[in-house]
């Protein structure tokens, strides 16, 4: 199987996630779009690992998954803390550090 097709799919997924982060205002959906981007990168890693017949790419996917799990846990905890304080998950309402 040619890997270019997988690279194309991964590029599209990454761009969709990227646009989602930029245009959506709901913090939970933004976190989900970040997961989407991480998955696109993982797919690229696995495709290249298959192309080169080297397991190193798959090890990196393992680490990306670890970081994604940590990021999701902390991000959701921050969203819960934000919701307790402001009763919203809209990022427009957390604009203290905005210039």
């Amino acid at each position: 199987m040619r890997i270019e097709f997988f690279l194309l799919i991964a590029a599209l997924l990454f761009a969709i996630g990227c646009v989602g982060v930029l245009i959506r205002r709901n913090a939970i959906v933004i976190l989900m779009c970040i997961e989407l981007m991480l998955n696109a990168v993982n797919l690229t890693f696995v495709a290249f690992a298959h192309d080169n017949q080297s397991m190193t790419g798959q090890v990196f996917v393992f680490f990306v998954m670890t970081v994604a799990a940590a990021e999701a846990a902390v991000g959701l905890a921050i969203i819960i803390a934000l919701f307790r304080r402001r009763l919203t998950t809209d990022v427009e309402d957390a604009s203290l550090m905005r210039w």
Partner: protein, 219 residues
Amino acid sequence: MPVYLLLELILVLVLFALVRVYAPERTLLAGAILGAGATALLAVNYRALLSLEFWVGLIGFVAILSALMVVIHPNPMVSILFLIVNLFCIALFYLILQAQFLAALQIIIYAGAIMVLFVFVVMLLNLKAEVGLRVAAGPQRWGALLLGAAFVALLFNAIRGRLDQAYVEPGMFDPAFGAARGLGGLLFSKYLFAFEAASVLLIAAMIGAVIMAKRQVRR
């Protein structure tokens, strides 16, 4: 040949979606006719069903569609369910690309643990569907769409040079490639330090999440 079959099936799906949106009372009739048409297409071209290209194309189409639904659906719960569909599609890609262990991890960790966390938080906060879709205003929205399109064009340009190369038959199939044994061997020898750092990261994230979510708020 499989590509044309896939495009025809996608066309059938788009026609059905158009009927569903613009003439909801004809949904059943259109579903019956288009379903019969799709079945006939598959029956005539049954040989294409045996090709890997057809299935990879189908999974890719579902993956892209579900990713789009994650971004454009106003209800966060529906977004989460579509993200789970997307994660399963990527797990299937991992299987096709000989990463069996990672496919299992993808379903166990992503679909099983992380997405359950998302579902719990959405249900805990009792989030409703947004009234209309709340998106960034003015320049940020159009800038984001423009940059997204430009990014796809850039990446496609980088890949394009290799798209017209001749098909290269992969080497011998190695059953050990992508299995847990090889991955674990690398993880505990060459990448031992990174592995330990990842465990520290997980501990820090766990403590951080508990402290962040448990803190009492002074009102």
